[in-house]
């Protein structure tokens, strides 16, 4: 009897052990899933929220500038200040020399203008504007080909800058040094408007859409050296 009893007891103990292990297995799997989910969520938060915040530093332009106000004053739209030179090259951001034509002295009681005149006009220092659309040095872009020949308007690439009453905060990519405007505000690279991004794909998309085959005379295709010189 005792032997049978003993056997019965042993079998009961084994069942108990198996049952405990089963309980323990169920608990570990839960943790694995839990930590997986935690890691997953954390990385999503980092990737979508923390990363963009860490990647870009925010900088103020040296002078507060009101495009809308100036557009009302000038006669020739954007080209009044952002003009083509006689040799067809594009002047880009205006030099102090152009600003001085109107702002040699403070005209009103705007403190931004007073700051501009005292810091730059009187000291004959060029304003170190931060350029949102600045491309890497290996990129060659002809404004003349797009604006004068293809008759594109400024807004297509630059957006409605002329309507802005203040300059947006300049977000500088800490790795590349270029503006966030090039990659686009949307960190996923999605865009709604043609001016939301300024990457190579955006150039290519537009060229494809417009069936532009004049970039390379030889191949009638968009060749590398047309833009990368």
């Amino acid at each position: 009897m005792s032997t049978l009893d003993d056997q019965a007891k042993e079998s009961t103990d084994e069942a108990a052990v198996e049952s405990t292990e089963a309980i323990q297995d169920n608990g570990t799997g839960g943790y694995i899933i839990l930590f997986f989910i935690l890691g997953f969520i954390a990385s999503l938060l980092v990737g979508w929220i923390a990363f963009p915040m860490a990647l870009y530093s925010k900088k103020e332009q040296p002078v507060a500038f009101n495009h809308a106000l100036h557009m009302d004053e000038v006669e020739n739209g954007c080209e009044s200040c952002h003009f083509f030179r006689d040799d067809g090259s594009y002047s880009g951001v205006p030099k102090l020399e152009q600003c001085i034509e109107c702002h040699e002295e403070v005209q009103g009681d705007n403190e931004n203008e007073a700051h501009f005149v005292s810091e730059y006009v009187e000291k004959e220092r060029e304003v170190p504007w931060l350029i949102y659309s600045k491309q890497p040095d290996c990129v060659f872009f002809s404004h003349a080909a797009h604006v004068l020949k293809a008759k594109m308007d400024c807004v297509t690439c630059h957006g409605p800058v002329g309507e802005m009453e203040s300059l947006p905060v300049y977000e500088e990519n800490r790795i590349t040094g270029y503006s966030r405007e090039v990659w686009g505000k949307n960190i996923a690279g999605l865009k709604k408007n043609s001016w939301d991004r300024m990457k190579m794909d955006d150039c290519a998309d537009c060229h494809k859409e417009s069936n532009n085959k004049v970039t390379s005379v030889q191949t009638e295709k968009d060749a590398c050296f047309v833009c990368h010189k």
């Binding site: 943790y31 839990l34 989910i37 890691g39 997953f40 990385s43 890497p136 040095d137 960190i187």
Partner: protein
């Protein structure tokens, strides 16, 4: 386990964020932005006209700028010298503006090392040095060496010395000095030699590197092209198959140093066969009969053939072609013309020109009047200055046997060694680098050991490095300067070098420094410099020309045309003098023997010039250095040209290293077997072997001037050495 699952979850989540793609994109852009990658300047393009002063050619240049940065130097279209063309050195001139060789601030040597000082301290130091010399009664021991003797800057330097009490203003010698002396002897008066190259139909060059830097190099290239187009003949007389000889219609290989004898031999044939212009000889020359007798007796084709090594038939053929040409022209001065040479050679060649009647004729040699726009009032001298001036020049120039020379800086080592006259105690150096460019640099270095050198060099060159004080001048793209005359041009011209960019460093115009030093010294010295600054001085001096010079960059005399004008001879006879003062005893040719004895040094070293190397005070800019052929410089090794026959005699294989030894020095070289050089000669390029703090220039090859000696010309006192005895020993 939990960390692993967190990491896996994190990885999976990260894959669903834009982070990997974005980081990859940013990283690729980042790798294209290394700070050492040069980025072209962006901005407005503009062009400014100026004049290049890197050689005596003085080409007009159009400088292309992007914003305030010079990006390219182009030849100025419509300029009388170069009409849009430019040479390699001029193109690479941008690197002389931005290169690392520049002296960026005034420097003073203290305990053997340069320390930075302010401009006020520098000017005060110069003024007090002059003051001390004057107080000691040693004003005459202040000297100045300038790259040129023409223009307001050399005149300001000369004036400063003069009012302080010294006449010891020197300029770097060249074939222009030899031609001026030749014209003074044969035509009288003071004039520069101009050549109507473009209108000549037959040119013989007696060793002149027409395509190797002689005269105004770009003009010479253009003239050569023109000769090809219109079928003009071009003969090169030279001991080595240079680029010029290779491009000539005929190369006459001559024994080096005997070019003058060949000119006389050609003259003898022309006289013998009555091919000379009797109209000129009979009506406008003097001493022809005596000269003719000497030439026909002593320089027959047979005799000349023996002297020159040129076949008699070739002498006859060359002479007949030259004599029968409509507008023949003979040129003289070896290589690029940095060594003046023997006056007898120049006289022989000039007499040959006269013989064919091309003096002041279309396609011939013209006497170009010296620039005359600098007319400052004579300064008053105080007692110390008068005493100093009365002691005259230390080099003897302008007196006795050196009466025809204006400046003989090559005599300085001899003066120091012989103690015949007092060597300078203080030497200003402007636009010159004598410790590199003057043959026998070792002797020159020793001669300057006890001299306080005050350098105005823009670059840390060999002389600046030895200087006690450096007051760096702006470089040619940063400063105003009048540029009178262009070497060999057939018209008077004045150019204006203009600042096309603001000074890049803490440098100052040498003209401003001179005026400031004079004002610091005050009294009669300050009074002699009434201008507030150099620009004012220049503007007032140029007067009516200033406006035109600012607009176009140059002014010429449009109505200048001396053709058929035979009234300009200012000799005693009023005619062209074939012999000096009609002297029948004048020896027409004497070979300038190379220094060294033949037994110890069986070979002869002959320096040669090239458009790819500048042998002047400015060393090769990096881009120019990249163009040097690997038959001249391989790595840092210099190659010497040796005829295969000579190489075989001394068992020197092609590419083998050897020691090149001359009485003046020794250098390690590589052998280059070259059939274009006569047996017995060793060809070595001029312009290598700089010893300066510039990795693009220093340590490359050997400076031929450290192996060369100076040989005083009996007719002028200028250096006439064309070579030196040498030997090659296996390394």
């Amino acid at each position: 386990m939990s960390f692993l699952s967190f990491a896996v979850g994190g990885a999976a989540g990260t894959a669903l964020t834009p982070m990997p793609l974005k980081l990859m994109d940013d990283s690729s852009i980042w790798t294209q932005m290394w700070p050492w990658i040069p980025v072209p300047q962006d901005g407005e393009v503009s062009y400014e006209n100026s004049v290049c002063t890197l050689c005596p050619g003085h080409c007009g240049i159009t400088v292309k700028k992007v914003e305030n940065r010079v990006v390219k130097i182009e030849g100025m279209k419509g300029h009388p010298v170069n009409d849009g063309g430019i040479c390699l050195l001029g193109l690479a001139g941008v690197q002389l503006l931005y290169g690392s060789r520049r002296v960026k601030t005034p420097l003073k040597k203290v305990n053997g090392k340069f320390v930075k000082i302010s401009w006020d301290e520098a000017v005060t130091e110069v003024a007090s040095t002059i003051e001390t010399m004057r107080e000691k009664g040693d004003a005459h021991k202040i000297g100045c060496l300038s790259g040129t003797n023409r223009g307001t800057v050399p005149e300001l330097l000369k004036r400063l010395l003069w009012v302080c009490g010294s006449l010891n203003f020197f300029h770097m010698p060249s074939v222009q000095d030899s031609y001026e002396i030749t014209l003074r002897m044969m035509q009288g008066g003071s004039a520069m030699a101009g050549f109507d190259l473009e209108n000549s139909d037959h040119v013989i060059s007696f060793g002149s590197g027409i395509l190797d830097g002689w005269g105004s190099p770009v003009r010479m290239f253009r003239a050569h092209s023109l000769w090809r187009e219109k079928g003009a003949r071009f003969i090169q007389v030279e001991s080595r198959l240079s680029n010029t000889a290779a491009k000539a219609d005929k190369w006459v290989p001559v024994n080096p140093g005997t070019e003058g004898a060949l000119a006389l031999g050609i003259a003898a044939v022309i006289i013998d066969e009555s091919l000379y212009k009797t109209d000129f000889v009979d009506n406008y020359s003097s001493g022809f009969d005596s000269w003719k007798r000497q030439v026909t007796n002593n320089y027959t084709p047979e005799i000349v053939s023996k002297i020159t090594g040129v076949d008699k038939s070739l002498i006859l053929l060359t002479a007949r072609d030259f004599g029968r040409a409509k507008n023949p022209l003979a040129l003289c001065g070896r290589g690029e013309g940095s060594i003046p040479g023997s006056i007898k050679d120049f006289k022989a060649v000039h007499a040959l020109n006269a013989l064919v009647g091309n003096i002041n004729q279309q396609g011939g040699v013209w006497a170009i009047p010296e620039p005359d726009y600098i007319n400052w009032p004579e300064p008053t001298l105080d007692e110390a200055a008068s005493a100093g001036v009365s002691k005259g020049r230390i080099d003897g120039a302008g007196k006795g046997k050196y009466r025809l020379a204006q400046s003989l800086f090559n005599r300085l080592p001899e003066i120091v060694n012989s103690k015949a006259s007092s060597p300078p105690d203080v030497l200003f150096v402007s636009g010159a680098n004598p410790l590199y460019t003057i043959p026998d640099t070792v002797a020159m270095n020793e001669a300057l050991n006890n001299v306080k050198i005050i350098s105005f060099s823009s670059y840390m060159d060999e002389t600046a490095d030895k200087a006690d004080l450096i007051l760096p001048n702006h470089v040619f793209l940063e400063r105003y300067e009048d540029v009178p005359a262009s070497a060999g041009l057939n018209q008077p011209i004045t150019g204006l070098s203009k600042p096309v960019v603001s000074p890049q460093f803490n440098t100052r115009h040498v003209g401003d420094v001179i005026i400031q030093v004079a004002k610091k010294l005050g009294g009669h010295i300050g009074d002699a410099f009434p201008w507030s600054d150099y620009k004012t001085c220049l503007e007032e001096t140029l007067g009516d020309k200033w406006e035109a010079l600012n607009q176009t960059g140059f002014v010429t005399e449009a109505d200048f045309n001396p053709t058929n004008d035979m009234s300009g001879f200012k000799t005693d006879s009023g005619r062209f003098e074939f012999l000096e003062n009609g002297s029948v005893a004048e020896v027409l040719f004497s070979s300038v023997k190379p220094e060294g004895d033949e037994a110890s040094y069986p070979l002869t070293l002959v320096p040669f010039d090239s458009m790819r190397l500048t042998g002047g005070y400015i060393g090769n800019p990096p881009y120019l250095m990249k163009t040097v052929e690997d038959t001249v410089l391989k790595g840092n090794d210099v190659l010497v040209e040796v005829n295969p026959k000579t190489a075989s005699k001394y068992k020197l294989a092609d590419g083998e290293k050897a020691f090149l030894m001359t009485p003046k020095g020794k250098a390690c070289v590589k052998i280059y077997h070259y059939e274009g050089i006569k047996p017995g000669l060793i060809g070595l390029a001029r312009g290598l072997g700089h010893n300066v703090n510039d990795r693009f220039l220093a340590g490359k090859g050997v400076n031929v001037n450290q192996l060369m000696g100076s040989k005083e010309d009996t007719g002028s006192g200028l250096d006439a050495a064309w070579g030196i005895r040498a030997k090659l020993v296996k390394a």
